[in-house]
Amino acid sequence: MIINEFKQDIYTCNRCKCGFCREECPSYKIFGLESYSGRGRMSMAWAVLKGKLDLTDELSKRVYACTTCGYCSARCGMDVVRVIEAFRTDLVNVGKGMPEHKRFREHALKEYNPYLELHQDRLNWLPKDVKLAEKAGILYFVGCTSSYRQKNIALSTVKILRDMNIDFTVLRDEWCCGSPLLRTGQTEYGTELGAHNVKLAEELGIDVLVTSCAGCYRVWKKDYKDLGVDYDFKVLHTTELLHEMIKRGELEFKGEFKKRVMYHDPCHLGRHMGVYDPPRQVLMNIPGIELIETERSRDLSFCCGAGGGVKSAFPEFALEAGLERLKEAMRAGVEAVVSSCPFCWRNFHDAVEKHKLDLGVYDVVEIVSEVI
């Protein structure tokens, strides 16, 4: 059992039982029973280690009905998410992973994306007049979601890069970063996917890799290194790049965006990687924007509901959690929710459509591309 590596954490939780992980855990919030909280999952891990519980389907449901948002870890201090991901690998190893995740893993290994799309269509979003350079200073790593679903985010990012006259390119043969597999306990192919992407990036001789996806960002900056896939260039989220340029006086906004907005911290960018200020700084520099902080923000932010394989395996839960977050925005009287992750965008957009909410959903790059 891989969870055995985290025995100390699991036993510590079992001794302490403080339950601080629970209150704003999206899974607990929606499902309501203790087993859907960080503490509940740790108690199951403890029971499995003690030989008191088998890896059942119900256990699998509890372990997978978690967005791995990391609220529990922020409240607790222990890396509860890491334990949950290890638990998922143990479940996968005995065939108790979620069928939806197994399906996208099988596809990702053939077509290098989890969306059941063809690899040859990956660059279909790219404007025809963008020429892919053989060498470049900056690589825009697009990610599967922006390549196949939220093309608006990829297009906005490219528009910004071009408007700024930045020497950039994208990979001709970009593969899934591996995030959907790593977050769902299907860890065995992470190294292979990482090695491929790193090799191509290095061949371009880049100094900086920039991505507009919070999930890809975490994988590039943390998971690849943890998996031993190393590289020698800087990795930035688009909001970090934009913030750096603002600080250097290289980016000024010509237009206005007259809206009262809430910035939503994507979990993989915020809690997982500690990037809280750059997106806020970018937004605060845009003329006309009124940026609101709600009760739950930064490290105690409430997840959009989509991450950790939840959107595919528990779509209703994902939408309910998304709605919970949007309601918070509406209580604060904002006109739009702005995030910096295509997955958050998708889930918020779906929730807005389903519940016919009068609320805009944007990615930071969408707004920047409008006012640049």
């Binding site: 510590t12 302490c16 339950g19 209150e23 309501g32 008191k52 059942t56 409240r75 201090g77």
Partner: protein
């Protein structure tokens, strides 16, 4: 146990029809999630309920309790699940009623300084709601992020700010709504701050540990948020000198909002972050035995004046005032957040290697030094290391010492757990001998000290308690086997 009953399935289906299928479970993963709390037990121990159910309304609670009463099934109210006495564990199986679904604020009355809320709300959430109105409920336990208002009432829980505001839930509780074990709903009390018109039965439920009924709503006295707070820490060579200084502060006419006296281990525990942050241990006198954290709140000038008088008294009593604001800040913040660095990071006083165990005694103020000596003697006798040592909140009536004595226990060793129980038992026995009590803020639950109830309380008093319990709960379904000495289900 319910699972052996032929009609178990029917009962489960009935519960589903009451709360909806998503809010009731008898799957082992759910039962395990409700099988342990923060109390002392060996690491393999768990108490599985038969069913867990999470109602969202008082009406649903009523229907669950009526069903349980009709079918003679134990029901156990569950709040934050952070209890230190096992009060919410299903020791006889039955139905755990997770009250956290009842978490609505019903009314915040700014003019009359009250809040009425469902009791499944956490203490933290209640205070977040009050803060928007510039109000607060000064009850402030370390478990506030998880523990509920209902559990605070049911255990008569302690918090930091009792020196000024009371500290017992009796001081805050104006009225309650209770679902009795028969399923009847009763409202007690009102918004009136005092009343002599009837028996104050709402107070009967303070410290009742879920044995008399389920508290579903509470009206609490709240206060305006203070404009200013100053905090100081003074180190003393003996517990006795710290206590004497505290008494003199009160006798001088000062009005501290909190006085919290901790042993050296407790001081090091709450300042652990200082060590992590600055890579050095806090400077303390070698002979230091206790630290007093004291706070004054209100208008700045008034608070600062009181602070200056208090510090003078402490210095005259031999105390050393900590001058480093970072150290004071860290102590105060850690005391109110129970963060990772002190609690779970690997170091000797954290729960990473050991289970924290403790007992919440209260003795007459003059007996505290004796209790502290006994604690030290018993540490040696039973071969335990102190966890956070001894700490005391000075509660209601300004100086009611709510003393917690703590040890670290290796919960992987059942023998050591049993030894720890003997240690706690002996300490509790000493408390009674000193004219004190076996529990001041955590409840008795199923703790080892429960067998001392007949020692602390007279036979006739205990019989009256049993009769009272029987009158309200004729079928003994409400959290059976807790608090009072054993009484079997009929």
């Amino acid at each position: 146990m319910l699972k052996f009953r032929k009609d178990a399935n029917k009962i489960f289906e009935n519960l589903k029809s009451i709360v909806g299928p998503e809010s009731v479970s008898c799957d082992e993963v759910d039962l395990i999630a409700y099988s342990r709390d923060w109390s002392l037990m060996d690491s393999s121990m768990m108490y599985l309920p038969d069913i867990v159910v999470r109602p969202k309304t008082t009406v649903e609670v009523v229907e669950i309790v009526r069903l349980a009463n009709r079918e003679r099934i134990p029901v156990i109210p569950w709040g934050g699940g952070t209890g230190l006495s096992g009060g919410a564990l299903a020791i006889k199986g039955g139905i755990i009623i997770d009250m956290k679904g009842l978490n609505k604020i019903i009314e915040i009355d700014e003019e009359n300084l009250t809040i009425t809320a469902q009791t499944g709300i956490t203490v933290q959430k209640l205070n977040e709601a009050l803060k928007k109105h510039q109000l607060w409920w000064p009850h402030d336990p370390e478990s506030k992020f998880a523990s509920t208002v209902g559990a605070a009432i049911a255990c008569d829980n302690a918090g930091t700010f009792g020196t000024k505001y009371g500290g017992s839930l009796v001081d805050y509780l104006l009225g309650i709504e209770v679902v009795l074990p028969t399923g009847d709903i009763v409202k007690f009390g009102s918004k009136a701050p005092i009343s002599a018109s009837g028996y104050p039965l709402h107070w009967l439920f303070v410290g009742s540990e879920g044995t008399l009924g389920i508290i579903t709503e509470a009206t609490l006295r709240v206060y305006r948020l203070p404009q200013y707070r100053c905090v100081d820490i003074i180190l003393f060579n003996t517990f006795k000198s710290a206590i004497n200084a505290g008494l003199k502060i009160i006798e001088a006419g000062l009005d501290p909002e909190s006085i919290h006296i901790v042993a050296k281990e407790g001081f090091l525990y709450y300042t652990r972050l200082y060590e992590v942050k600055f890579n050095k241990v806090p400077k303390v006198p070698e002979k230091m035995e206790a630290a007093m954290a004291i706070s004054f709140a209100g208008l700045k000038d008034v608070s600062r004046f009181q602070e200056s008088v208090a510090l003078k008294i402490c210095s005259e009593a031999g105390g050393t005032v900590i001058e480093e604001p970072e150290l004071v800040d860290i102590f105060w913040t850690e005391k109110h957040t129970l963060s990772y660095d002190a609690g779970k990071n690997p170091w000797p006083l954290s729960v990473r290697q050991h289970k924290y165990a403790g007992i919440d005694l209260c003795v007459p103020i003059g007996e505290v030094p004796l209790m502290y000596k006994t604690y030290q003697k018993l540490l040696k006798k039973y071969d335990f290391k102190p966890a956070t040592g001894c700490f005391m909140y000075c509660k209601r009536l300004k100086f009611a010492p709510n003393c917690i004595f703590t040890i670290n226990v290796n919960d992987e060793e059942p023998e050591e757990v049993e030894r720890a129980k003997k240690f706690l038992y002996e300490l509790a026995k000493c408390s009674i001998e000193c004219g004190g009590t076996i529990s001041s803020s955590r409840g008795v639950g199923i703790s080892v000290t429960r067998s001392l109830m007949p020692t602390e309380h007279s036979h006739t008093a205990l019989e009256l308690m049993k009769k009272l319990k029987h009158m309200l709960d004729p079928n003994n379904i409400m959290n059976p086997g807790k608090k009072l000495p054993e009484e079997e289900l009929p």
